[in-house]
């Protein structure tokens, strides 16, 4: 039940991120979550948006290099220890996290959303399926 994250190559130069958000704004793409990873020479922006396919296509049209990456998204209660509880289940299932980022609230203010890139997405999904977690599906993204 992975969802589609868009990964965008960002040259290390002032204004690059803004150029990307301009494209998204111009096409009314709703940004649900964003994380930027960088090395000293370049960066990769990771985006969760309401319409991943449309966003990828408009970014490509604007000469960005964008690719889709499957990630797992979970809704948890926004409370102390919430993420720890989730990750202890990951531990049980031996799920290896490559990177993660989160966003809070959304339209349900009591919730937080955790997004994970894991080593073996399909297997991890299967392992985590029966654990009573709220794993988000692609079509739920626009609702949060």
């Amino acid at each position: 039940m992975s969802i589609k994250q868009i990964s965008v190559f960002l040259e290390n130069k002032p204004g690059t991120l803004r150029k990307m958000t301009q494209v998204l704004a111009d096409h009314s793409i709703d940004l649900r979550a964003l994380s930027v990873a960088e090395t000293k020479d370049f960066g990769i922006a990771r985006l969760i948006v309401d319409d991943a396919l449309a966003a990828t296509s408009v970014l490509k049209d604007a000469d960005f290099i964008a690719s889709l990456t499957p990630v797992l998204a979970f809704e948890i209660n926004d409370e102390k220890g919430g993420l720890n509880k989730l990750l202890s289940i990951f531990d049980e299932c031996h799920v290896n996290v490559e990177y993660m980022y989160s966003f809070l609230g959304g339209k349900k203010s009591q919730s937080a959303y955790m997004i994970f890139r894991v080593a073996h997405t399909k297997e991890a999904e299967a392992e985590l399926a029966g654990k009573g977690l709220k794993m988000l599906r692609q079509e739920q993204i626009s609702e949060i």
Binding site: Q5, S7, F9, L10, E11, N12, K13, T16, A37, T39, D41, F42, I44, R46, D63, F64, I65, S67, T69, E98, R117
Partner: protein, 433 residues
């Protein structure tokens, strides 16, 4: 007191030099006519035979030879001696299309090393000196040339080759090196490192340096001289003609004396190909007067410069050439190494990148910086930072192994490198020399 390696020729009268040149030129023309069909064809096309060349005044009748001829006749087309008489090759850097391989008989090596010995002696070297050769050894002529010259004089030769800066400094300190040979940018780097290590000019045993294979400014000379407490001499040469030592600086440091008993020099207008009057600025053209294995007649160097005929205070009578102002083709000399944009293109294509790139060369603290900007492609991109960095490193290693020097690879956004309608601007050289 000025020292000479071969005073009788270095300080010979102009008449004597001319006499030697006349003799050698006639012999050399006959040699290529007899042994190099490529030249013979070129001469026949101009309707001349060796009989038309009776003195250096007839030089202008001979056809020019260019780098294109050299490439066209790669590898053996210009060979003037049977291979069994050849003992060495040296080569310029370059892909198959650009590489020049020059051949040497033992006689050719001897005369090349003699030229280097003259340069070293002009810089004050004697058999009492310790001469550290920090030019690259191998196909590059810098190391082998100065190494040979240093042997001829009888210096204690320290063949460190380039790189490993701290070891270079250790040898300079421990062996009390007095003469340093390397590229000027490497000399500047060594100087800087010594300064960082707390070594002042008085702590450094060096007294002179011979720095060539790339362009450098007077400011850079003063910097190097001050930092290391030495006198810094320029040296000029081309692999095509032998290597370093075609010309060299003397104590006057006012132009480089051309070894005219071996290399006949002309200045031409690169557009009309007319020989220009004495003192004019134009393209340097050399004729090797006694190279056996790789004899070049009227070789166009593409280096733009000017000759000085006034008598030099050092006592040498050989004509002097100013530092070449620039090279008219696309070759870059970065940290003393020849780099052609086409080589970079080859590496990019081999690593799956498109040939959209830009080379940015600058000089920071007297050392050349070398950046290659490459456009990211969808094929090369992954979501994994480590993977992208690994590919970046792969490319950087590929460039290092092709060029012999390290380039900084920067991945830039697609289409961010300006396209032009005509010839692409591949090189941005910001060095102010």
């Amino acid at each position: 007191m000025e020292r000479y390696y071969q005073e009788e020729i270095e300080c010979a009268s102009r008449e004597k030099i001319r006499e030697i040149q006349n003799e050698k030129l006639k012999k050399q023309v006959q040699h290529v006519w007899d042994n190099v069909p490529y030249y013979r064809k070129k001469m026949e096309a101009k309707g001349i035979t060796p009989a038309d060349i009776q003195s250096i005044d007839d030089l202008h009748k001979l056809p020019f030879i260019t780098k294109d001829d050299l490439r066209e006749s790669y590898p053996y087309g210009l060979l003037g001696m049977p291979l069994k008489d050849c003992v060495r090759i040296q080569s310029t850097s370059g892909t198959t299309g650009k590489r020049v391989v020059a051949f040497y008989t033992q006689h050719d090596i001897d005369l090349w090393e003699e030229c280097c010995a003259r340069a070293l002696t002009a810089a004050g070297a004697t058999d009492e000196d310790v001469c550290q050769v920090s030019y690259g050894y191998g196909l590059f002529t810098g190391g082998p040339g100065l190494n040979g010259g240093s042997h001829k004089i009888g210096c204690l030769t320290v063949p460190t080759s380039s790189g490993n800066t701290d070891r270079q400094i250790m040898f300079i300190q421990d062996l009390k090196t007095t003469i340093l040979c390397c590229t000027p940018s490497y000399a500047a780097y060594l100087g800087e490192r010594m300064k960082e290590m707390g070594l002042g000019p008085d702590d450094i045993p060096l007294k002179a340096g011979i720095f060539g294979a790339e362009a450098w400014s007077e400011e850079m000379r003063h910097d190097i001289e001050k930092t290391m407490g030495i006198k810094a001499y320029d040296i000029y040469g081309l692999t095509e003609l032998s290597g370093p030592g075609v010309s060299f600086e003397c104590s006057a440091q006012d132009g480089m004396h051309i070894n005219e008993d071996h290399f006949l020099v002309e200045i031409i207008d690169p557009d009309t190909l007319e020989v220009l009057p004495d003192g004019s600025e134009g393209e340097l053209v050399f004729t090797s007067l006694d190279k056996e294995a790789y004899p070049l007649l009227r070789y166009r160097t593409k280096d733009i410069c000017q000759l000085k005929y006034e008598k030099c205070s050092c006592g040498r009578t050989f004509v002097r050439m100013a530092k070449p102002r620039g090279r008219s083709d696309d070759m870059l000399i970065i940290r003393g190494v020849n780099v052609f944009p086409s080589q970079i293109e080859t590496v990019l294509l081999n690593h799956g990148y498109a040939a959209n790139y830009q080379i940015i060369v600058d000089r920071v603290n007297n050392t050349d910086t070398f950046d290659v900007q490459v456009e990211m492609t969808p094929e090369m991109f992954t979501d994994n930072l480590g993977e992208v960095e690994a590919k970046q490193k792969e490319l950087s290693d590929g460039l290092k192994s092709m060029l012999g020097i390290k380039a900084k690879v920067t991945l830039v956004a697609p289409k961010s490198i300006a396209r032009s309608e005509g010839k692409a601007v591949r090189v941005i050289d910001k060095r102010k020399i």
